[in-house]
């Protein structure tokens, strides 16, 4: 009895807009003018955004990816509204924890399920009844996976809740009850949704209904007219719309251009080219061109995001990765200016490319959505400087880590081929570059940590409170300080220096990622999230194995005494 209630509620909701009951898979309409549709302003998630962004966020929440099934995200949302029963058969609802599949007796190898499959699943319905009875609503489980009410971190329970959320979101989307379309009289007032427009029609909801009808009838010309009409009628009712008009345009541009994705491709290409560009002028020119293009796209994306969000993008993992990888390039170019080393720029471009790849490939873990800031972070000059400085230092440490890995590889070559002046020279040069990078990093990290103190003093009334994020920044600083002092004293030599530089980077990983994703305590809770553990621990494990492997070969060669250097 209980089980069917949830299913009934959702199935009932599906019939609302559907005129046709065909069972064929929904397909995009050809020649559809989508510009005006994308730009219809929507109030959602505590800010004003274009329909394009609204659609992408919801499709991300449903499917785990910002666009799906070859549809333009905006069009996909409309299609779901006019053909809900067909979409209910489409496999678009994501389950990303295989144990949940097993718990629901579903195929553990599949990631996507259709709404109808889930609603026919008794175990799922039982769970969803339970979750709903305990008062879980859409907003309680955050998109990144931690239940905001209980804070529980059982991945299975969390994923189940998210799947229930996805099913409920599906329903809310197709009935138009998430699409806020009729603006209120002041900025803070909640807008009326399209669903509410069924009972209290407004000019805006009427325009949307006409738009949906023309879409259902496959009429691109009428669609264009109604989309423009809907856009204008929403825009004209927003108080002081002229001030935000360009923000919406910029956000659609940012979404469509995907500057970081393109930048990543250019970085990786450039990184490979630099490796082979030693003596080939043409390759070198091409590598230069790719590098410059990548950096320009990177900066453009960064600037667009700043402009849309109205603040520097440094408040979550996704945004900090973008900034840190830009930092890597900044330091690399700075060093390259004096030392024209292809290895240096190759390392940097590959690191930046990989970092952007990581940021782009896991939108479920690192939410790329632009969200309003929590009060403590608002309009704060010190915050911006403090976070930008600290994360910039991460960039320098990351570069040092990359270069040191190359340097360690030199020792491996040496242990194989025997000492050669060429390798020794290269190692010395790499160590020098890595040392420079470390110096940049430590100065910035010290400054950033202190600026964090200044900000905390300014905002919370204490300079230092042993908060885990503060503490890990300090631990990273202390670790690098130990290395630098050891180098000064001569205990840390040509081999130990790159080795320790690489090892110390794990403290940066901890300060950057671990505090928010692993420890999950402290005052910096506005940045907390889950996920990505396998990836990060995998990286650390690989790095450790690499260091161990090279240290083993290096020691064996040295202890054999055959090739001992003078």
């Amino acid at each position: 009895m209980l089980e069917s209630r949830f299913a009934r509620v959702i199935l009932l909701a599906l019939g609302l807009f559907s005129g046709l009951q065909a069972v064929s898979a929904p397909e995009p309409v050809k020649g559809l003018p989508k510009n005006d549709l994308r730009l219809i302003p929507v109030q959602s998630g505590g800010r004003l955004k274009p329909f394009d962004e609204f659609a992408r966020e919801n499709i991300l929440a449903l499917t785990g990816s910002r666009s799906h099934s070859g549809f333009d995200p905006s069009e996909m949302l409309l299609s779901m509204m006019v053909r809900p029963s067909e979409w209910a058969n489409e496999k678009i609802i994501r389950i990303s924890v295989p144990e949940v599949n097993r718990q629901l007796l579903l195929d553990p190898d599949r990631k996507y399920f259709s709404l109808n499959e889930l609603l026919a699943n008794h175990a799922f319905l039982q769970y969803s009844e339970g979750i709903r009875a305990n008062g879980s609503a859409l907003e309680q489980v955050t998109d990144t996976g931690v239940n905001a009410v209980t804070g529980q971190k059982d991945p299975r329970a969390e994923e189940l809740k998210r799947v229930v959320d996805r099913v409920m979101r599906f329903q809310a989307l197709v009935t138009g009850s998430l699409w806020a379309v009729t603006p209120g009289s002041d900025r803070e007032q909640p807008w009326k949704t399209v669903a509410e427009g069924m009972t209290e029609p407004s000019e805006q909801s009427q325009a949307v209904f006409a738009l949906l009808k023309s879409y259902l009838e496959n009429n691109p010309e009428e669609f264009g007219v109604f989309a423009a009409q809907a856009r204008v009628s929403v825009e004209s009712k927003i108080p002081e719309f002229d001030g935000v008009k360009n923000l919406l345009l910029a956000e659609v541009l940012y979404n469509r251009l995907r500057p970081f994705l393109q930048s990543m491709i250019f970085y990786l290409l450039a990184g490979v080219l630099w490796l082979f560009a030693e003596k080939k002028r043409l390759l070198r020119l091409l590598a230069k061109f790719f590098t410059v293009t990548a950096v320009l796209l990177h900066v453009l994306g960064f600037a667009l995001r700043c402009y849309v969000a109205g603040r520097p993008p440094v408040t979550n993992m996704y945004e900090s990765i973008i900034w840190v990888s830009l930092g890597v390039m900044f330091f690399a170019l700075l060093l390259f200016w004096k030392n024209r080393q292809n290895m240096l720029i190759s390392t940097a471009t590959i690191l930046s490319g990989l970092a952007l790849f990581a940021a782009d490939s896991a939108p479920m873990v690192m939410d790329p959505t632009i969200r309003p800031l929590v009060p403590v972070l608002r309009s704060n000059y010190w915050l911006t400087i403090h976070v930008l400085t600290i994360t910039l230092s991460y960039g320098a440490f990351m570069l040092a880590m990359g270069i040191s890995n190359l340097s360690l590889f030199g020792f491996f070559q040496e242990s194989r081929r025997g000492p050669s002046s060429e390798i020794t020279k290269r190692i010395a040069l790499l160590n020098q570059l890595s040392y420079r990078s470390l110096m940049f990093g430590t100065v910035l990290l010290a400054a950033g940590t202190i600026l964090g103190g200044v900000w905390a003093d300014y905002s919370w009334g204490r300079f230092w409170g042993w908060d885990p994020k503060e503490v890990w920044a300090l631990i990273a600083l202390l670790s690098y300080m130990a290395v630098l002092h050891g180098r000064y004293a001569g205990w840390v030599g040509a081999f130990a220096f790159p080795l320790w530089t690489v090892i110390c980077f794990s403290t940066v990983v901890m300060a950057w990622y671990g505090v928010n994703f692993v420890l999950g305590v402290g005052l910096h809770s506005y940045g907390f999230s889950t996920g990505g553990q396998a990836f990060v621990f995998g990286f650390l494990l690989l790095q450790t194995l690499y260091c161990g492997f090279i240290a083993y070969h290096h020691r064996r060669r040295n202890s054999s005494g055959l090739h001992r250097r003078a």
Partner: protein, 499 residues
């Protein structure tokens, strides 16, 4: 010939100025701190502070670092120009350490709660105290928090100056209340009923006791409904109020009424004023065969299951170690509780949770009070909250900004006219108020519906601030200079080589 102690001193000096010591201290600090963050993650902030951040040995470690830096700097005497970057950076660290020490010893960091229209000057600090009041004599003794692992070996402790003894201590306590039948002649005995709410608006099936003998336990509010127990002869004191401009009451009411003969009946009033009453079948309740359900007849589908009824009951409160820790993203802090007994009377035990006070009789039979509170600091002036303001993100209830408009009130200004003439200061997230050495920051608020009206300010006095700031400036200047000096040096050697 140098004597032995001089030799020993020189050895010690050589250790103090060695780079080895510096590296060892730096590394042990790094390891200690990483362990501390793990402790904090597994337990809570208080535990990490107890074992590391506020432990004496940790300050010892920091002092060794300070001594090391000082000794190294002195060992370079007489200082030359090339020493300047090194000296700047290391003097900066010393100043930051010294400033932190000053803050630790003399600083104040507390919180101040003020409701709109009210004044407060008592700052709550992060230290716990035991207070006793005997006659006019008030005594306060610090009794700091300790984690459960330490509390395991807690031995009862006598506080002769307070006239009490701590028998038991619970680091993170959960209140357990028990109701048991009592003789009706006992003046403290009162009726108690245990109910379970079915179809509650918030979901779940909450269960609770209503106990007539204690104002706090006699009524229970659940969403838009209030449940209450009273004796028949007691007057209904809490009639639901009707908001202006609305024909609906603010809440629906359900009263359990106990007659002198011990019969139980209920009387329900909906928000629209519709009444319904009936009796509760005590025979069925005693038989425990089928559930006894009360239907208040409201529009919302709420039913009450009466689980047990004691016409004359007593309440006993205890504290036990919390079993299920609330997982609140690391913000939940432990709440301790203690069980005390009066001096010379070990049988007279009672529990005090944090913030509780209780009356007892001292050895001479005179009335006395004992309490267990956060330590308070009285400011020489009061802060009056004129208004608490909050804005939200568009279309949501998430706070975007919040701020307090406050007045500083001296003891003498008390009349309404005086208050009106006082200037109003606006404390926002990023603009604290500074007044006579103390700084007031907007820190939080007490969530209320429809809008919060109680602000939480954090109050701070930091004598080490200047030292810390100047130390920071020196440290940054010094490290930049160190970096530049290295680059210049490198250039010179290069030029020499080329020559």
């Amino acid at each position: 010939m140098p004597n032995r102690s001089a030799l020993l001193l020189e050895k010690l000096w050589n250790v103090l100025i060695s780079l080895k010591l510096a590296v060892i201290v730096i590394l042990s600090l790094a390891i200690t701190l990483s362990v501390a963050t793990v402790i904090e993650s597994m337990h809570d902030t208080k535990t990490a502070q107890y074992f590391v951040y506020r432990a004496a040995w940790f300050y010892g470690l920091l002092s060794v670092l300070g001594l090391n830096i000082l000794a190294v700097a002195l060992s370079r005497l007489p200082w030359k120009r090339r020493h300047i970057p090194f000296l700047l950076a290391h003097a900066g660290i010393l100043m930051i350490l010294a400033g932190s020490w000053l803050t630790y010893v003399n600083g104040v960091d507390g919180s101040l709660l003020i409701s709109e229209g009210e004044m407060n000057s008592a700052v709550e600090l992060d230290e716990l105290v035991l207070v006793s009041k005997r006659g006019e004599e008030v005594r306060t003794v610090p009794f700091p928090w300790m984690p459960a692992s330490v509390a395991k070996s807690f031995k009862p402790r006598e506080f002769p100056e307070l006239g009490i003894r701590i028998e038991r201590y619970v680091a993170d306590a959960e209140r357990v209340t028990r109701y048991f039948p009592a003789d009706g002649s006992n003046p403290e005995a009162a009726p108690a009923v245990q109910v379970r709410v079915l179809g509650a608006p918030m979901g779940g099936a909450p269960e609770f006791w209503l106990f007539g003998g204690d104002p706090g336990s006699a009524s229970q509010k659940l969403g838009p409904a209030r449940f209450l127990i009273r004796k028949e002869e007691q007057k209904d004191l809490e009639a639901p109020s009707v908001a202006q401009g609305s024909d609906e009451a603010s809440e629906a009411r359900l009263d359990f009424i106990v007659s002198k003969s011990g019969a139980l009946r209920f009387q329900a009033v909906s928000v629209r004023g519709e009444k319904k009453s009936g009796s509760v079948d005590l025979k069925t309740l005693q038989a425990r065969e089928e559930p006894v359900i009360v239907d208040p007849g409201w529009k919302m589908p709420i039913r009450l299951q009466v689980k047990s009824f004691l016409p004359s009951a007593l309440m006993e409160t205890r504290y036990v170690e919390r079993k299920v820790k609330p997982v609140g993203m690391g913000t939940a802090q432990p709440e301790p509780a203690i069980e005390i007994s009066m001096a010379g009377n070990p049988a007279s035990r009672l529990w005090l949770g944090l913030g509780d006070r209780a009356n007892f009789q001292d050895q001479n039979g005179n009335p006395a009070t004992a309490g267990y509170f956060p330590k308070r600091l009285l400011l020489p002036y009061g802060l009056r909250l004129e208004r608490f303001e909050m804005t939200t993100n568009p279309g949501t209830n998430d706070p975007a900004t919040y701020s307090s408009r406050v007045q500083v009130v001296d003891q003498f200004q008390k009349t309404e006219a005086d208050l009106r003439s006082l200037p109003v200061h606006h404390i926002t997230m990023n603009e604290p108020l500074e007044w006579k050495g103390y700084t007031f920051y907007q820190s939080s608020y007490v969530p209320e519906i429809p809008r919060p009206t109680t602000t939480i300010l954090s109050v701070n006095y930091d004598p080490g601030r200047g030292l810390k700031y100047w130390g920071s400036v020196l440290l940054i200047l010094g490290s930049v200079a160190l970096y530049l000096a290295k680059t210049v040096k490198k250039k010179k050697t290069k030029e020499l080589q080329n020559a």
